[in-house]
């Protein structure tokens, strides 16, 4: 039961930490525009050269159009294949791609394991056969194995690249190495566990089933009975809790980078929601100390912006 408690706790930490990140982003004041072109939701005629709606004469008289399809066309290869890195930093891509894709496949494997667990939930014990379960089992084995092989090689590659390449080494701290080693150990334990004790991921299925049922066993075999299986559970659980506490949270925070900054080109229209947010911001009272700012904590941004400074230096 100790393993399950650890996993539950780590999942809770994940949701709390990720929730905090997301909540903080949502509650931040609207910032000034700082988009960077190409903005990928632009319509094709503009996107092809990185243009914007501001290329149109009297653009404010037109309805603003955007293309979700164009955004997807960019996002999908970017997320799945890290296309940006392929283009800009090929030598890192060769290790970064297997590393990331390995992680994605681990997430996919876990998703399949959960689906599998649901498919056997009602009776508690698995009835034999069933096309769906066979399909799920097959896919689990495939994503699991491919993910583990990519993950082991990718994380080992990332580690050595960081160690060997002076460009990376000179800026790496203990934590940077620790993060990669941590992920590598997870992949390694999981890989060895599959190789030596659980090639068809039966143990993983059993454990996931147990996670959903508060510890009920799916079958007689429990992965925690082996050192490698137990290690995998510990590392996987801790990793789930650890990711959102570090800069690795970019896995989901990238959403805000793109949608709230790089592609946030929403114009301020009179009486619209942007204007309302701006008015709220302008009522804030800064306390910057340089003389020319002339802030005293009582004057608002609006008042300061409408005044000429007395102090000119």
């Amino acid at each position: 039961m100790g393993f399950y408690l650890l996993s539950y706790l780590c999942i809770l930490v994940f949701f709390l930490a990720a929730g905090c990140h997301v909540y903080r982003q949502w509650t931040l004041p609207m910032h000034v525009r700082w988009e960077l072109y190409p903005v990928q939701h632009e319509v094709s005629g503009k996107l092809v050269h990185g243009g914007s709606y501001m290329e149109d004469w009297n653009w404010w008289e037109k309805e603003q159009r955007s293309s979700f399809l164009n955004e997807l066309k960019y996002m999908v290869p970017e997320i799945l294949f890290i296309r940006g890195l392929w283009k800009e930093n090929r030598k890192l891509w060769w290790v970064s791609f297997p590393f990331h894709f390995g992680l994605y496949l681990m997430i996919a494997t876990f998703g399949l394991l959960v689906l599998h667990a649901f498919s056997v939930l009602p009776g508690g014990a698995p009835p034999a056969g069933g096309a769906l379960r066979t399909l799920l089992s097959g896919m689990t084995v495939l994503t699991g194995w491919v993910g583990l092989i990519l993950g082991v090689t990718g994380s080992a590659g990332m580690f050595f690249r960081r160690l060997i390449d002076p460009e990376l080494r000179d800026y790496s701290s203990f934590v940077d190495y620790f993060n990669i080693v941590f992920i590598f150990l997870f992949f390694l334990f999981a890989f060895l566990a599959c190789l030596f004790t659980d090639p068809l991921l039966e143990g993983a299925k059993a454990y996931t089933f147990g996670l959903l049922t508060g510890g009920d066993s799916l079958n007689a075999y429990a992965p925690a009975q082996t050192f490698l299986g137990g290690g995998t559970i510990v590392f996987a659980s801790l990793l789930v809790a650890y990711v959102p506490l570090t800069h690795m949270s970019h896995m989901f925070m990238k959403y805000f980078f793109y949608h709230n900054v790089k592609w946030d080109d929403a114009p301020n229209r009179r009486g619209g929601p942007v204007e309302a947010a701006v008015l709220k911001n302008l009522a804030l009272k800064p306390t910057w100390k340089a003389k020319h700012v002339e802030a005293d904590g009582r004057k608002s941004w609006q008042e300061i912006a409408s005044s000429a400074p007395k102090e000119m230096k």
Binding site: R24, Q25, L28, P29, M30, H31, V32, R33, W34, E35, L36, P38, E42, H49, G50, G51, S52, M54, E55, W57, W59, G84, K87, E88, N89, D170, Y171, S173, F174, V175, H247, S249, H250, M253, F257, Y258, N260, V261, K262, D265, R270, E275, N281, L282, L284, K285, P286, T287, W288, K289, A290, H292, V293, W301, I304, A305, S306, A308, P309, K313
Partner: protein
């Protein structure tokens, strides 16, 4: 072997943290190889006796050395209090979200380094890596402002905080042109240009530290006198009177530049530097608008005749004040829209950044002159003879309205129509390289900073220009079209510095000059190449 400089070295005392030796800089092709052994001329020890110079071979701000230890400690305290404010919504709602995201998610992959022209051209000096200064700030923030930071710093990256660290960081924030090319390639979306912008703000808004040219003689002078050039309204009107006469003399076209016309459709905002340095630009705009029959006006109100807003580069408060003044003037004139002349940073300042500052009737539509001009040139009302522009032309993309606003094609569609020998630089459009004069550099020349700019930050642009004209005979004149005053200033300086007019006959100018030069109604050419007219006999 290349000497490595790490972020933690910023705190270690030394006379010069990063020195460029002759031969370190990226090589230039013939006939410019003689510049490959050039280094930045040494600072005059007498002149810099009392200022901070321990970062590298140049000085952009010239921060006075503190008189004693107490003063140093007070400055460190001020720095930390400013740093804290960068993360407070009351003080920094303007950029809080982008800053937080960029501060927390860098994976130190160095993808951004190769995208940075300053880093590449400097001979890949560590301090010019885009993430270097961001990492310095990040480490200080994590160690000195986060709970338990002094312990976790040993694990996440340590740095000592003393006056040397701070003085160097302030100077270092003026070695980046804020071109944001690094941000376009970051696989995460981290924007080191933005972090640099925030460092500049901290120094200005909390500590009152900023280069004289952009604060005292820049925004402050603009708000007080009317223009960062020092021109008051009367002087501006005089200049424009002179421009009218000059234009008539040069082109044979009677130019009438309207002032303060209430109810005009368009308020045209020029960078006032054009009136002094490139009067033909102001005149060419007038000719085109007049010929197209537009209803337009200039404003002679204080600040209203100078589109610049240097606040964009270093200070949100000064930025807001200038932007509000521009909008108030347009409101008083009851114009339908403001058209931004050929000034890139002014475009971004008033059109995009101030968009979330101006509310109600101050939120008057703003349009890029590139768009207005495209409408005119492609509209068919004016007749053009492109053969008049029968010389090689290349286009510089100002970062501020190309990468930061997505105004990419209008100027190209114009050039394709009026300049038959137009060719692109490589790369161009949103992937362009900065002119090297961005973020205030074009107007900053204290000590030996101008030499640093020409040798380092503008070097990539110079290489791009040479490449664009590769294969063209040295003796034929070539035109770099730079539709932005700051870029034009930087390009003028590199042409002079590298003797590119003498060696390759490279000239520069704006877009409107090319348009007027190709107008069928013109009796004489507007563009001259030295003493030669641009029209072929």
């Amino acid at each position: 072997m290349k000497e490595t400089v790490k972020p933690s070295d910023m705190a270690k005392p030394s006379e010069c943290l990063c020195h460029i030796e002759p031969g370190d800089l990226s090589p230039l092709p013939p006939p410019y190889e003689d510049f490959n052994e050039k280094a930045i001329p040494p600072l005059n020890p007498e002149k810099v006796k009392h200022i901070e110079t321990s970062l590298d071979d140049t000085v952009a701000i010239g921060i006075p050395k503190p008189a004693n230890r107490e003063e140093e400690e007070e400055l460190v305290r001020r720095f930390l209090s400013g740093l804290k404010k960068l993360f407070e919504k009351e003080n920094n709602w303007t950029f809080l979200q982008p800053l937080l995201l960029s501060m927390e998610h860098c994976t130190k992959c160095q993808t951004c380094s190769d995208a940075c022209p300053v880093y590449e051209m400097s001979g890949k000096k560590d301090i010019h890596r885009p993430m270097f200064r961001a990492e310095v700030l990040r480490r200080i923030y994590n160690k000195y402002l986060k709970p338990g930071g002094k312990i976790t710093a040993k694990l996440t990256g340590d740095i000592d905080l003393n006056w040397t660290t701070i003085a160097r960081l302030a100077e270092l924030s003026y070695r980046c042109t804020l071109c944001r090319r690094c941000a376009t390639v970051c696989p995460i979306g981290v924007d080191n240009g933005l972090i640099n912008h925030e460092i500049r703000k901290l120094f200005s808004q909390e500590m009152g530290i900023a280069p004289k040219e952009i604060h005292e003689k820049g925004t402050s002078q603009q708000l007080r006198v009317g223009s960062s050039t020092g021109m008051n309204p009367l002087a501006a009107k005089d200049s424009v009177d002179f421009i009218q006469e000059e234009m008539e003399e040069i082109t044979g076209w009677k130019v009438d530049i309207p002032w303060d016309v209430e109810g005009a459709d368009i308020l045209l905002l020029h960078n006032a530097g054009e009136m002094l340095a490139w009067p033909e630009n102001v005149g060419a705009f007038a000719i085109i608008f007049q010929a197209a029959g537009l209803s337009w006006t200039l404003s002679s109100e204080t600040v209203g005749y100078d589109a610049v807003n240097y606040g964009l580069w270093y200070d949100d408060v000064q930025f807001s004040r200038v932007a509000v003044r521009h909008a108030e003037i347009a409101r008083r004139l009851k114009v339908k829209k403001i058209v931004m002349g050929e000034c890139g940073h002014a475009h971004k300042a008033l059109t995009v950044i101030a968009d979330r500052l101006l509310t109600g009737d101050l939120n008057i539509p703003r349009e890029s002159a590139m768009v207005t001009l495209e409408k005119i040139v492609l509209g068919g009302k004016l007749k053009f003879d492109p053969r008049r522009n029968d010389f090689p032309v290349t286009l510089h993309d100002p970062c501020n309205f190309v990468r930061a606003m997505g105004i990419v094609e209008p100027q190209r569609r114009i050039l394709r129509k009026i300049a038959p020998r137009f060719r692109e630089m490589t790369p161009h459009g949103v992937d362009n390289y900065c002119c090297g004069g961005g973020s205030g550099f074009a107007i900053m020349s204290p000590y030996n900073f101008e030499a640093w700019r020409n040798l380092v930050s503008s070097r990539k642009k110079f290489l791009q220009i040479l490449n664009a004209f590769q294969g063209e005979p040295a003796e034929i004149p070539k035109y770099v079209c730079a539709p932005c005053s700051n870029c034009k200033g930087a390009i003028r300086d590199i042409i002079n510095f590298y003797h590119a007019e003498e060696r390759s006959r490279i000239y520069y100018g704006g877009l409107v000059e090319l348009i007027v030069n190709a107008m069928a109604d013109m009796k004489k050419p507007l563009i001259q190449f030295g003493d030669d007219p641009s029209w072929k006999a």
